[in-house]
Structures are given as structure tokens and as C-alpha cells.
Amino acid sequence: MGYRSSVDIHTEWDIVAARQLGRNEAKKVGFGTVDQARITTAISELARNIYLYAGAGKIEIERLNENDLFGIAIIASDEGPGIPDVRKVMEDGYSTSGGLGAGMPGVKRLMDDFRVDTEKGKGTKITAVKWLR
């Protein structure tokens, strides 16, 4: 387990705080500007999903170091309604809020590893990892 820090998401401005934290951590790990932008954008999407669909939750950022591999993990967790159909959410263009429907599949493309744990009525936990190359 690496160094972990977190931001609680309650308002729209907390999304900015989470993004800022992610950018700083990504810088510390040694990511370049393009990957920094990818990571902050992914955080932005995940944090906004928490804000829009769960109302409250948190974003945790963890610096990773496994077998000489360095990376960063974004863990977005909430105790919201859960995602009813994960497969549908991962399709491009699917949105229940009138948005672009690019958020979840977008995050998957922005990051290297992507994992969704969700249970109806219990909440959602999304883990996304980017490795430094």
C-alpha cells in the first residue's frame, strides 16, 4: 500500500479540490503533462458522477509502487443507489442525466486498469489505475 489521501465530495467545488489533489499526486509520481491531464480528467468524471448520482462520497488517490512499477490509483466510492446496469453504463452515449454519456467509458480509456464494484442500494466503488511508463 502506498501513500493515500482523500477528498470528500459534497458540492461541485469539491470536484475541483479532488482534481487538484490528483494533479499534485500525479506530479509527485512523475507523470508528464498529458498523463496529468488524463488523470485529472478521469477524477473529474468520477467525482462528478458521485456528485450527480450519489450526492456524496469520496475520492481517494493512492500512489502505487509494485515491482519497480510506479503508478497512481483513483478510488471513487459512495453509498449511493448503485449502478443498475454496469454494461450499459460502459457503452458510449448512454446517459440517464442528459449528458454526453462519455464519462465512464471515457475514464476506462483514459486509464490503464478500471474496475467497478456496485451493489444496488448499497453503493459503488470504482478503482482506476494509471501506470507510469
Binding site: V16, T41, L100, G103, G106
Partner: protein
């Protein structure tokens, strides 16, 4: 009791203040006295002691006015609320210790003393907290207004061409403002081409992109064209990864190139003037 406490405060003022200062020093170290000039502390603690006395001796109206002025001044000094709260607490602790030592307080009348204490310390704390909250609310509101003024202004650059530079984070509220100013400005300046410059937007996620697309659609409805300029390389890559289609837009990397295209669209171009 109601007479003895203020009397004691008045006669032992120096001792109380010295002990209180020592207590603050013990708990917060010298740094507390470094942030604040000696004379300010001296005057404030004297005023504070005076306030304690007057809370016990004077009529309520006069005391409330004094209290209000006192907390207003404290807030204006810009000390942290935690420190001020600590100072109040320490002051009452100091007073308690000294009263005990002087044997004005003993086990028989301690309850009465706490009654008195409650009567002055509660309103004082409340007043200070309220004053801080009020000041913060005011500051936040003013900053909100300042931010709004900076938010989204449409600048007419040439005849038929306007630019809206976007700087900073775009939230829902700002997105609305951008849309309104954009449409109103396009109509007012009779613009045919509007350049949305996102050089200063740190992150373009799906929500920001969505708002931009909607704004561009709306601009089209009022008969103008919207161009997206200032797309930095890293933003271009994240937009592609997100799978956002901006095909309906003309997009350029810099405002300068966008301006050239906008001039071309309105059948004009910039030429160098030959002086000879």
C-alpha cells in the same frame, strides 16, 4: 459574588493579564506573540477584561454594544477563530485559578461562579462566532460577484467577429452564464463568428464539453458560427480518449489561427501594408 468578581478583575487586572499571557505562551509558544504586536495584545486584553467587568456590572444594552464593538475589532484584526476561542477560554481559566488562589472562590460558591461565567462567556463566544461567520459570508459573496464579473465576457474584436476567453474551472453556474452572455453578446454585437477560447480552462471533461457543444448549438440557432480555439495538446488527447465528437466545430490550437479562419469566413484577411 456578583460584586466581588468584577471588583477582583479591576484590582488584579495586571496579574490576570500576565497570567493569561503566560498561559497562551505555554500552549501556543512564542509564535502567538510574534503574529501580534505587543501593544495590540495589551490593549485587546485590557478591553477584554473591561468587557468582563462591564458584563457583570452594567446594564444589558450598554454591554451588548460594547460586546459588539469588541468582537468587530477582533475579527478585523484577522486572527484565527480557533486562537480567539482559545484566548477566551484561557482568560476564564486564568480568572478561575486566581479567584481560587485569593480564596474568593471555594467549594461552597463555585456553582454560583459558573453561573456568572456562563452569563458572560456564552454571549461573548456567540457574538464572536457570529461576527466571524458574517465576515466570511460577506467575503465569499463579494468574491462570487468578482468571479462573475471575470467569468464570461464577450469581446467584439472585429466587425462581425467576437471572442470569449474562458479562464478557470467551469461549473454548472458558470456554464449558464457563458451561454447567456454568449447569446446576448452575439445578438448585440451582430457577430457572425464567435471564438470560444479555452486556453485557460484547466480540465475539459464531458460536462465542460457538453456545455460547450450546447453553447455552440445555441449560437448556431441565432445565426452565427462558433469556433473552439486554444485547444492544448494534452486537452486534445483527453477529448479524443473521452470519445467526444467535436466534428461540427471548427477547432484550432491557438486564438491567432482561429482569428485568421474567422476573417476568412467573413471574406477578409490581414495584409501587410507596403509603405513605399
Amino acid at each position: 459574588m456578583y460584586r466581588k468578581v468584577p471588583q477582583f478583575v479591576e484590582t488584579h487586572l495586571e496579574e490576570i493579564i500576565d497570567n493569561w499571557k503566560q498561559r497562551m505562551k505555554d500552549e501556543h509558544g512564542e509564535k502567538f506573540f510574534h503574529i501580534m504586536p505587543e501593544e495590540v495584545i495589551e490593549r485587546t486584553s485590557r478591553d477584554f477584561a473591561d468587557l468582563v467587568v462591564s458584563s457583570l456590572t452594567e446594564e444589558t444594552g450598554l454591554y451588548e454594544e460594547k460586546l459588539h464593538n469588541f468582537s468587530e475589532r477582533i475579527v478585523r484584526l484577522g486572527w484565527s477563530i480557533t486562537l480567539v476561542m482559545k484566548a477566551i477560554e484561557n482568560f476564564s481559566d486564568t480568572l478561575y485559578d486566581l479567584l481560587r488562589k485569593a480564596e474568593i472562590l471555594d467549594d461552597s460558591n463555585v456553582a454560583e461562579y459558573f453561573d456568572i461565567l456562563n452569563n458572560w462567556i456564552k454571549p461573548l463566544r456567540q457574538e464572536v462566532v457570529e461576527m466571524y461567520a458574517h465576515t466570511w459570508e460577506r467575503t465569499v459573496n463579494l468574491q462570487k460577484i468578482a468571479l462573475q464579473e471575470l467569468s464570461a465576457s464577450l469581446i467584439p474584436v472585429f466587425d462581425k467577429i467576437s471572442v470569449m476567453p474562458l479562464v478557470g474551472t467551469i461549473d454548472t453556474e458558470r456554464a449558464k452564464l457563458i451561454m447567456e452572455n454568449l447569446l446576448e453578446g452575439v445578438v448585440r454585437h451582430r457577430a457572425e463568428v464567435v471564438l470560444l477560447d479555452i486556453t485557460g480552462v484547466p480540465v475539459v471533461d464531458t460536462m465542460v464539453a457538453h456545455h460547450i457543444i450546447q453553447a455552440a448549438d445555441a449560437v448556431r440557432l441565432v445565426g452565427a458560427r462558433c469556433m473552439l480555439v486554444g485547444i492544448r495538446p494534452e486537452i486534445a488527447q483527453t477529448i479524443v480518449a473521452l470519445g467526444i465528437s467535436l466534428e461540427d466545430f471548427t477547432t484550432t490550437s491557438t486564438l491567432q489561427r482561429g482569428m485568421q479562419e474567422a476573417l476568412a469566413l467573413t471574406n477578409r484577411k490581414i495584409v501587410e501594408v507596403d509603405e513605399h
